[in-house]
Symmetry: C2
């Protein structure tokens, strides 16, 4: 059976002052009245029904998730004691799933994507799942790049199909500088690494065993402890021993079984206010987005939003993000949004 694991453990500090440690990005209602996690879950249906969807997140966020997303079944959560990057998170999920369904095909999805064409999304997933079913490969969804983005990893792939809709991966490339990104685009041989993966639980566990044996040992200890009614401490200690490592670095860059299915759907990674600005079609003649009691004078290409009753005035600044909420106010040029997380962390320390 096909199961979905939605990775939702991020802190979303880049979305301060809308996101906070208590209200992470996955719980934001950035585009409509639904949280990003709900949008991700709905988007999978009916291809993967709700009862085979899991949310993997860190322990301190579970309560808030349950409060903000009513109607979740109690066993929807796969809980990490604390964040250890993507490989342990995925490994833990595979251990959980293997107990529910040892033959499970596992679709791993970040909770912060925006996808415009649900049918095409399901078709792409179907292609990937069919391939996994036949060949037991490690599959990633690739996105046709539309700009020399330096914030994503890239996948070099064989242009000829290996199976219908599926291509062999030549290499994974980490986030490039701008010059390299431009070269990648010129070759036509590179896709963006979306962070969406499809594989069988057995295959990913054996890949982790091969490439990260220490992590695999800890996962096997956790697997045992899950069957032990008094195993909570063992799980905690085993997880504590794990070194943080990404799935790209631990498995994708090393495996000989990597394949890519290029996406046929519109895709955005909601990584910063930039994407929220880009996806908002409600612009004025100056290409500025304004929501709430906002006044702008000579302000071009900007995102100016007050999520409170209090007015917000921006004068004579271009390409800035100004967001006011009942948590505070952010003022940042669009090309400095990578520093919002840093500011958010300083503010969090000020408060505690």
């Amino acid at each position: 059976m096909i199961h979905a694991v939605i990775m939702a453990g991020g802190k979303g500090t880049r979305f301060w002052p809308v996101s906070t440690p208590e209200r992470p990005k996955q719980l934001l209602r950035l585009f409509d009245e639904r949280t990003m996690i709900e949008q991700t879950m709905l988007r999978l249906q009916p291809f993967i029904p709700t009862e085979r969807q899991y949310i993997v997140t860190i322990e301190e966020q579970v309560e808030e998730f349950a409060r903000q997303v009513p109607g979740l079944r109690p066993d929807v959560f796969i809980t990490e004691p604390f964040a250890r990057n993507t490989a342990p998170c995925i490994g833990l999920s595979a251990v959980h799933l293997s107990k529910i369904d040892p033959e499970a095909i596992m679709v791993v999805l970040p909770a912060d994507h925006r996808i415009s064409d649900k049918d095409a999304f399901h078709e792409t997933l179907q292609t990937a799942c069919n391939f996994v079913d036949e060949s037991d490969g490690i599959v990633t969804i690739g996105i046709h790049p539309v700009r020399p983005e330096t914030g994503y990893g890239y996948i070099q792939y064989e242009r000829d199909e290996f199976r219908p809709g599926t291509h062999r991966v030549v290499t994974f490339a980490e986030k490039p500088n701008r010059e390299t990104a431009i070269k990648f685009l010129e070759t036509g041989e590179f896709l963006w690494n979306s962070g969406m993966f499809i594989w069988s639980v057995q295959r990913i566990l054996s890949e982790l065993e091969e490439h990260t044996p220490e992590l695999h040992s800890a996962l096997m200890e956790i697997s045992d402890a899950l069957d032990d009614p008094n195993g909570a401490d063992r799980i905690y200690r085993a997880y504590q021993s794990i070194k943080p490592i990404s799935i790209d670095y631990s498995v994708m860059e090393k495996t000989r079984n990597a394949y890519v299915v290029p996406a046929s759907f519109g895709w955005s990674d909601i990584g910063s206010w930039e994407e929220v600005y880009q996806l908002d079609e409600d612009r004025d003649v100056n290409d500025t987005v304004q929501h709430g009691p906002v006044v702008t004078i000579d302000t071009k290409g900007s995102y100016v939003v007050s999520r409170t009753d209090l007015p917000l005035a921006v004068i004579g600044l271009d390409n800035v993000v100004v967001v006011q909420t009942d948590e505070g106010t952010l003022v940042c040029p669009r090309d400095r949004l990578q520093d919002v997380g840093k500011a958010s962390e300083i503010i969090h320390k000020l408060k505690s």
Copy 2:
């Protein structure tokens, strides 16, 4: 006797979001725990004692003044039904004073100046009052210019003293463009027009009669009505008929009796957030002023203040003013502060 008239009818919209229509600039506590009007009153003592100080303001502000500045005597206010620029405001004050003391010497002061040396300030006023006493001239206080400011009027004066500390005025020049302001400074013959005036009430009333006979007629009607127990309506109607006009345009630029006493004290006109920034000595290594729960990253030459408990983060912007209060948030480059009043007015309309 010497009497002081403090002009305090301004709206201070340039200080949004700290100032509001209900909390004009004169009532702000920008530098210490005292309002600007209290600072102005204290600064005059003992040269002009409290009982000979008057505040001229518009009717809608009187109640708030009385609330914010406790201990004011009931007859401290000279009340304009509505704002009509400086000439009617000064004329009305002269009419009031002439009933209290027909021989009064009248010292007119804006409520939004910051003056660093009180003794030197009193000496300058004494020089001006002595001259008025002897010659019945029209006297203005001139400020030695320290930059080619385009926001002030200028006074060209005879460098040789006419009487000790007092010079004849050659001409009044309206706010110049930058090029002209630079030329003014180069000649050494120009002072800034501070908007502080000293004259006898009889002299200013006769100057107004000569240069603005319509205004003078309205003032005489008001003078009559003040002696009429049922005169409130007459005062209102007479004031309504008055055309707004500045004292510079109506009298100073036309009189043949204009003199200037150059100030020997440090002086700032608190006209915008720029002066508040300039006068604040509490700067970080980036020449940025920070007050309240504020985080700045790579922010030079800026004024970043949160007057609430809410954090405020500014990243990667230089020479900006960002002020957050429980009325809202302002984001504005220091060289665009002249537009704050415009934004404030739009916001005020949004709210009503």
